[in-house]
């Protein structure tokens, strides 16, 4: 297999499978190591980058998937049965952000942070396929653990969990400063 053929093979696989395919599997089929495969996938990605192309190559964690370019949505709505865009309510988004940043996490842990029962939100997120069960925690009652899915990465346009906006203690400091500034402002008034 020459390089052109390898790229063609990668394209054919990604096209036929539709869903995301792991890099290791792709590498296995073209009988190359991961790095070489990654390089070939980058070439494929470049090819799709052209204005004449309506599809793009998504990278999700260590998987790849072909999808239509976001700009094509309006045209597609005219012809394809497109899934309706999920409108996430505030409570669902709050729950999702806790799961995204604290995964794996149990219902109880989510509830203790939000201060309210979160069953509805968790169930909605499961229904949307944005979160999934990751197993059970080794704790009394063996509660279920939740984490985000690949669909979550796709919907929020991130390659991997590492690419989520950072959340850290500095942020808390920022909040603090914000609060202080507000007080000073109010005092000045």
């Amino acid at each position: 297999m020459d390089t052109a053929n390898k790229i063609a093979t990668l394209e054919a696989i990604l096209f036929a499978m539709g869903e995301s395919v792991e890099l290791t599997k792709l590498a296995e089929v073209i009988e190359e190591d991961k790095d070489v495969t990654k390089g070939l996938l980058d070439k494929l990605k470049e090819k799709y980058a052209s204005d004449e192309s309506g599809i793009e190559l998504l990278e999700l964690e260590d998987s790849y998937q072909l999808a239509t370019k976001p700009g094509m949505y309006d045209a597609l709505v005219k012809i394809a049965k497109t899934p309706r865009r999920m409108q996430l309510s505030e409570s669902v988004l709050e729950t999702l952000s806790i799961i995204a940043y604290k995964q794996p996490v149990t219902r109880l842990e989510i509830e203790s942070i939000r201060g309210v029962s979160s069953d509805f939100a968790v169930n909605k997120l499961l229904e949307y396929g944005l979160i999934c069960e990751l197993g059970r925690k080794d704790a009394p009652g063996r509660p279920l653990l939740f984490g985000t899915t690949e669909e979550f990465l796709r919907s929020f346009g991130v390659k991997s969990l590492k690419d989520l906006p950072e959340i850290d203690t500095l942020q808390i400091e920022e909040f603090k400063q914000e609060a202080e500034q507000e007080i000073q402002l109010s005092l000045k008034l």
Binding site: F15, G18, Y73, S97, R114, G115, S155, F175, A179
Partner: protein, 249 residues
């Protein structure tokens, strides 16, 4: 504080508290607990308690606030290092954590909106690919197995089958299950009670043919006693039990 006519909906007690803190433009690390507690309580008083579950969550926080308020009036507790403990510390931590995730949820919302909507394709593998069956590698399949081993397995199984047959008990006749009609038995005993008024428990049991019938009779007697149709009297331990009908027909 004037309660707005239309109450804003909050995600929960922490959400409401954050709102009050922001509204009053106070430092989250130095919450004026008296003021905030009053406002909080005023708010939940105005809340329409449609859902008791929701309401109870707000009430738990109200109790926490009142608790903190009391502790603030008392001399401050000190920890092992002699530092004064702020009764608000735990609540502040919770509020900050919640605020952080709430903030991140806004970020996520923006990310979702900015991320264009793309479509994926369903799997369309050609049928012959989907139905493809790997040829069987018999060498791998059979592995270390050979005829002698297969023979051993067969012998082992035949022996196991023989072992399962108990040469003594297999000669016994069948044991048949005896069906006892509970309802019929209950009727019989009720009638016995009605006609005999007072009788010996032993006599009644002796009239039963099998162990199962004795057990059923015993259960029915217990039931009749529970429902107050009969009373039971035993003078001394091991004496015969006398049964008396309560509702004389």
């Amino acid at each position: 504080m004037a309660i707005p006519v239309k109450l804003q909906v909050f995600e929960g007690p922490l959400d409401l508290l954050l709102h009050l803190i922001e509204k009053n433009k106070v430092d989250i690390y130095d919450i004026p607990i008296v003021e905030i507690t009053n406002q909080y309580l005023e708010y939940i008083r105005a809340m329409q308690a449609e859902d008791m579950n929701v309401m109870s969550e707000f009430l738990v926080m109200a109790a926490t606030l009142v608790d903190i308020k009391c502790k603030m009036l008392l001399p401050k507790e000190v920890n092992e290092e002699g530092e004064e403990q702020d009764p608000r510390a735990e609540l502040v931590e919770k509020l900050l954590e919640y605020k952080m995730y709430k903030y991140m949820s806004f970020e996520l919302k923006d990310m979702q909106l900015e991320n264009g909507f793309s479509l994926c394709k369903k799997e369309t593998l050609p049928d012959d690919v989907k139905n493809f069956r790997e040829p069987i590698d018999y060498e791998q399949l059979i592995g270390e197995m050979n005829l002698n081993k297969l023979h051993e397995i067969f012998n082992f199984m035949m022996q196991r089958k023989e072992d399962k047959i108990d040469p003594i008990r297999s000669h016994y006749g069948n044991i048949e299950k005896e069906e006892i009609d509970m309802d019929a038995k209950a009727l019989y005993i009720e009638e016995y009670v009605a006609t005999h008024k007072k009788f010996s428990f032993k006599d009644l049991l002796e009239k039963q043919k099998s162990k199962a019938e004795i057990i059923v009779t015993f259960l029915i007697i217990l039931e009749l006693m529970k429902t107050g149709i009969i009373t039971i009297l035993q003078e001394n331990l091991f004496d015969d039990i006398y049964i008396t009908a309560v509702k004389a027909a």
